[in-house]
């Protein structure tokens, strides 16, 4: 099947579409996955002070695609949950290309419960192609781990902010994304399925990813217009990968601004606001 399509692809390659004609969504997908883009640890280092990482889900092991720890945002102690990609092959193997195993979601829940106990806000950095689809992940209950986080995050009696910094890959992203406020970096994406997966299902052709990126409506602007996210954080011109400091500065400002009013809310009000936020999501017709 692949072979029969080779000729068509070949001719397409011969005359590449000029960069400017590529769709905005597709450009965003490429920027969101850019290997030089700031990853969670870059932001953590530039935004917070005194970051201390803690490890392990207390049940199976430590997931290296998920980072958890404590830090200060200015004077405010915060609990950090983050998905981490690697910049080179070696690091990517360690980080499993940013694809968490169940123990990653369970570790994240462990520290979020701690955040609740010690009355500290949670800041979650989302950057994953998706939860890892593997043998061990299934054996250890990837579906259960994500489901549990959705239920428990909704109940947390402490402020939760989530930021999509790169790829928001479906359930793997949402697994740390049930927040009072959800922000997206300007060039990040958030989608129910990868453009590749969508193209394979729709057109049986993984090369149709540009079109798939368009139909999925996965840009920050799309999600803001759908009221799925609350704010878009501007990136330096050309993308965050060109100026990590500026991108981090912008995000820091947005986090400070977002966190302040949340800290004034009672635990009950926080829980209620988060519940209502997600309760309202969905578009349907009631005849």
């Amino acid at each position: 099947m692949k072979n029969s399509k080779t000729t068509a692809h070949h001719s397409a390659k011969k005359a590449p579409k000029p960069e400017s004609s590529a769709s905005l969504a597709w450009k965003r997908v490429q920027l969101a996955r850019h290997p030089q883009r700031p990853f969670a640890l870059d932001y953590i280092e530039k935004i917070f002070t005194g970051f201390t990482e803690i490890h392990g889900d207390r049940a199976f092991g430590d997931d290296h695609a998920t980072i958890t720890g404590f830090a200060y945002l200015d004077e405010q102690p915060v609990v950090v949950v983050a998905q981490q990609k690697g910049r080179d092959t070696k690091e990517n193997i360690k980080r499993n290309f940013g694809m968490p195993h169940p123990e990653g979601y369970r570790k994240a829940m462990r520290v979020m419960k701690m955040a609740e106990k010690f009355k500290k806000p949670v800041i979650a950095f989302i950057d994953t192609p998706g939860a890892y689809p593997g043998l061990g992940a299934e054996e250890r209950g990837q579906a259960e781990a994500i489901a549990r986080n959705l239920l428990e995050m909704a109940k947390l009696r402490t402020p939760v902010i989530a930021v999509v910094i790169g790829e928001g890959g479906s359930g793997g992203a949402l697994g740390i994304g049930v927040a009072n406020k959800v922000l997206m970096m300007e060039n990040s994406i958030y989608s129910v399925i990868s453009p590749e997966g969508c193209a394979a299902i729709l057109w049986n052709d993984r090369e149709m990813i540009q079109q798939a990126s368009d139909v999925l409506r996965l840009t920050a602007e799309d999600l803001l217009s759908f009221k799925i996210i609350d704010e878009i954080v501007p990136e330096p011109e050309g993308g965050a990968h060109l100026d990590h400091d500026r991108a981090a500065q912008n995000l820091k400002k947005a986090l400070e601004k977002t966190l302040k009013p949340l800290l004034a809310l009672s635990p009950t009000a926080l829980e209620a606001q988060r519940y209502e936020k997600f309760r309202a999501m969905g578009v349907f017709q009631e005849k």
Binding site: A137, G171, V178, F278
Partner: protein
């Protein structure tokens, strides 16, 4: 040898075709053991092969008939129909096809009824409707069903048959239904009310990773495919063959994610028992 082999092949083929159309034909070849089954007999046996116990998929309505006490079911929210919020190509056609196939407005039926004498709020998804996938309507109907359980102070039973998971055609809205339903289940939990999740073939993706796995008790039908990622995706990712029985009900019991495997003929009674025990 030749005269013997060929006709046999022929028979297998025609029967093989019929098997796809169960239960329309008169006979079917069992998907599990290849036994030739009289379809009426199969129907009488809850669509379970009397020889090997293979559980055929059921429609929501068939499941409803087998699960809820006769004459007690009151359907809710059947007026909810999907929109096409992303203007996704061919979505309306797919919905229409699903509606024609299932005679249902969407991939889930919800309502109140009694199961083995116990009142419950019930939701049943239908694999024949776009793979039982979850869009805004499925999310909203199930959430309302959970809220109804809280309001009436009764238990919640959701039967999942959703290989599709979150519905691609509604994009991010579908994904968010996972959070919406899970949050509602959290409230049910805090109200001290039981939720029993019944996992049937197949339950995967965003459905497994939300209400599928969140039961106080998770029950599964024998041999059902239950998992997060599809087996093909996993094989492509790890580049190795998956072991036999991977992601089947028995595998999930072995790994601690399903409490019990319940054959279809015992499901109603079993649900009734749990609902009675957990009654507030």
């Amino acid at each position: 040898m030749v005269w013997y082999k060929n006709p046999k092949k022929g028979i297998t083929k025609t029967l093989g075709k019929k098997q796809v159309r169960v239960p329309e034909g008169l006979y079917a070849k069992c998907k599990g053991c290849s036994a030739i089954l009289y379809n009426k007999e199969l129907d009488k046996n809850y669509k379970v092969c009397p020889k090997c116990g293979y559980h055929y998929q059921l429609s929501s309505l068939e499941r409803l008939y087998l699960t809820v006490d006769s004459g007690t079911f009151e359907e809710f929210d059947e007026q909810l129909v999907p929109k096409n919020p992303l203007n996704f190509p061919e979505y309306e056609e797919k919905v229409k096809k699903g509606q024609e196939k299932t005679k249902m407005p969407e991939a889930v039926v919800t309502g109140l009824g009694k199961i083995h004498g116990q009142p419950a709020s019930v939701a049943i998804t239908d694999f024949q409707f776009m793979g039982g996938s979850m869009g805004s309507v499925v999310g909203e109907k199930i959430t309302r069903a959970i809220e109804r359980a809280i309001e009436k102070k009764i238990g919640m039973v959701i039967v999942s048959a959703s290989g599709g998971g979150a519905r691609m055609q509604e994009g991010i809205y579908s994904l968010m239904q996972m959070a919406k339903i899970s949050a509602a289940l959290g409230r049910l939990d805090e109200a001290g009310l039981p939720y029993i999740s019944v996992l049937t073939d197949p339950t995967a993706g965003g459905v497994a990773a939300s209400f599928g796995m969140l039961g106080d008790v998770n029950l599964a039908e024998p041999g059902a495919m239950i998992g997060f990622a599809g087996p093909r995706v996993i094989e492509q990712t790890i580049r190795q063959k998956l072991p036999k029985g991977f992601q089947r009900s028995e595998f999930l019991v072995d790994h601690g994610f399903v409490d019990a495997i319940v054959p279809r003929s015992f499901m109603k009674e079993t649900l009734g028992k749990y609902l009675k025990f957990f009654k507030p």
